[in-house]
């Protein structure tokens, strides 16, 4: 379901058409249609378990689709696409692991390469620059496992951006952060993505923190998506069709509230979805 025709504009880097994904025979997502333009900031909004991580796995080429096409610059997706950077939802680092923040960023350059080749001065300078860009200078020499969640998030962003991808995927980067750190990460991401001309696809279960920076939204619910600009998607008619029952959209003090009519079914949804408020 799309609210805007999926045009093959020359600036599109990712194009998803009529895609269907199943895990162990169970359909997780179907009729998925959306596009991501160069240097655009897209929010992938949906509750936990709605299939956001699955969608990322498909884009990374780690999970096959049942139907439809996913193309990158008009070409079918290849595994090992180094033009796509990825920051997973939860990375567990052993606090005793002998790996500094800067070592993790360096692995973004050559972690996939066999053999021992010294890192050139240019590469080392690039690593320094990226650590500065994500405000990680202060803890670049500490063990990754000893850093706080927000600090690890910055290092992971630097790790993903160091290989100069055109598209950066972030899976729930705000999930374990306090509101202040979340705002900082969003601001930083927006700045770094603009400076490096990287398109961002960021998943979250709450869209409000993203409203100031989001160019487009991909809204996931019921195994389907609606995509377009926030004004095109976050509308009562579009979201009611997506959820399969009536919802209202309220705009209060610059925040968007998606309001569902009250029933047992909706109470469950509210608990999973902070954007949805019971009338």
């Amino acid at each position: 379901m799309t609210t805007r025709a999926s045009l093959d504009a020359p600036t599109d880097i990712l194009n998803v058409k009529d895609m269907e994904v199943a895990i162990d025979g169970r359909v997780i997502l179907r009729d998925v249609d959306f596009r991501i333009g160069a240097s655009e900031f897209t929010g992938l909004i949906g509750s936990n378990g709605s299939g956001k991580t699955t969608l990322f796995q498909v884009i990374l080429g780690l999970r096959p689709t049942v139907a439809g096409t996913v193309s990158f610059h008009g070409q079918p997706l290849a595994r090992r696409n180094r033009s796509i950077g990825y920051v997973p939802q939860k990375v567990l680092f052993d606090p005793e692991m002998p790996l500094r923040a800067r070592d993790l960023v360096a692995l973004g350059v050559d972690g996939h390469r066999y053999g021992l080749r010294r890192r050139s001065r240019a590469v080392l300078a690039d690593i320094e620059e990226m650590l500065t860009a994500v405000d990680a200078d202060g803890f670049a020499d500490r063990r990754v496992g000893e850093l706080s969640g927000g600090e690890q998030q910055r290092v992971l962003i630097a790790h993903a951006l160091i290989s100069r991808p055109e598209l950066l995927l972030l899976d729930e980067p705000l999930a374990n952060l306090d509101p202040g750190s979340a705002q900082e990460i969003i601001g930083l991401l927006h700045r770094v993505a603009t400076d490096n001309r990287v398109a961002v696809l960021l998943s979250a279960h709450e869209m409000n923190p993203l409203l100031p920076v989001m160019d487009r939204v991909v809204y996931v619910a019921n195994g389907r998506v609606a995509s377009g600009t926030t004004d095109e998607v976050v509308r009562p008619d579009v979201l009611s069709a997506l959820y399969g029952h009536h919802v209202d959209v309220l705009r209060v003090h610059g925040r968007v509230l998606v309001v569902a009519s009250s029933s047992d079914e909706d109470d469950r949804m509210v608990s999973e979805h902070p954007d949805v408020v019971v009338k």
């Binding site: 997973p88 002998p98 972690g111 992971l156």
Partner: protein, 266 residues
């Protein structure tokens, strides 16, 4: 202690220490210490079996270690491997015990295989051990970055297109080979402590990956050299000293790490 009769002991001990320092570093980094405990038992059974049928024990060591490593690799990809590893561990020990009972030279052989017999290394054994050890170290250096990457952040490595299965199987094969070379010298039960003690201490003492690896080799060398000297001096099996020194090293590193953590907070 440095007579010509001891030359082979020092040489083979040095080779095995470097090997254990390198391979053990990744065992600790990948949290694969359970596999590192199980594979020597496989190697032990292989050596006992080779002994029984009159084959070169090195052949039995290598082939059984590889079988043990690959079966651990195959099961761990499907599920959590603790149970599979534990079961193959005891099965291998049981097999080894049976093989040894059936063969005639029971007691000296079981002692050498379980606890190590560094004085028994002959000059003809030394060359193959050296060549295979070089092969292991070269393989690890070739795999170095993807090995570190898949150890510390498997999800990120997969997203970058690193073939995790290839890296894992290659590493297990190297671990099997390294184990096969180490078992006759420090013994099946204590190979584990040489592979875990020095690297676990090293990773606490340095936060820099390459320096921690170098330190791991240094500590393994110190452990083995001190153990050979003590074994000669006190006429006790070398494995006893390797196990003790490994544990003491780790304890010291732990204390030093904890003290540094306290100081950085204060």
């Amino acid at each position: 202690m440095f007579s010509s009769f001891m030359t082979n002991a020092w040489l083979s001990g040095t080779i095995v220490a470097i090997l254990a320092g390198v391979v053990g570093f990744f065992v600790v980094l990948r949290a694969a210490s359970f596999a590192a405990h199980a594979i020597p038992n496989g190697a032990f059974a292989g050596a006992a079996g080779a002994n029984l049928v009159g084959l070169n024990p090195l052949f039995g060591l290598i082939s059984f270690a590889i079988v043990a490593a690959l079966s651990i690799g195959a099961t761990s990809r499907r599920s959590r491997s603790d149970v599979a590893t534990a079961l193959s561990l005891v099965l291998m020990l049981a097999l080894g015990a049976a093989f040894l009972t059936l063969s005639t030279e029971y007691e000296p052989a079981i002692n050498a295989l379980l606890f190590g017999e560094i004085l028994g290394v002959s000059s003809s054994q030394l060359l193959p051990v050296l060549l295979l050890a070089v092969l292991c170290v070269v393989a690890i250096l070739a795999l170095y970055r993807p090995l570190v990457f898949t150890s510390v952040a498997p999800d990120l490595a997969a997203a970058k297109g690193v073939n995790a299965t290839f890296v894992e199987i290659s590493f297990l094969l190297v671990l099997a080979l390294a184990t096969a070379l180490t078992v006759p010298i420090v013994g099946a039960l204590l190979t584990f402590s040489l592979m875990i003690g020095p690297p676990a201490a090293a990773r606490l003492l340095s936060k820099h990956p390459a320096r921690a690896l170098t330190l791991s080799i240094t500590l393994a060398l110190a452990t083995v050299w001190a153990s050979i000297a003590c074994s000669f001096e006190f006429n006790l099996p070398i494995g006893f000293f390797v196990g003790t020194f490994g544990a003491v090293l780790y304890l010291c590193a732990r204390v030093s790490h904890a003290r540094r953590a306290v100081r950085s907070v204060a």
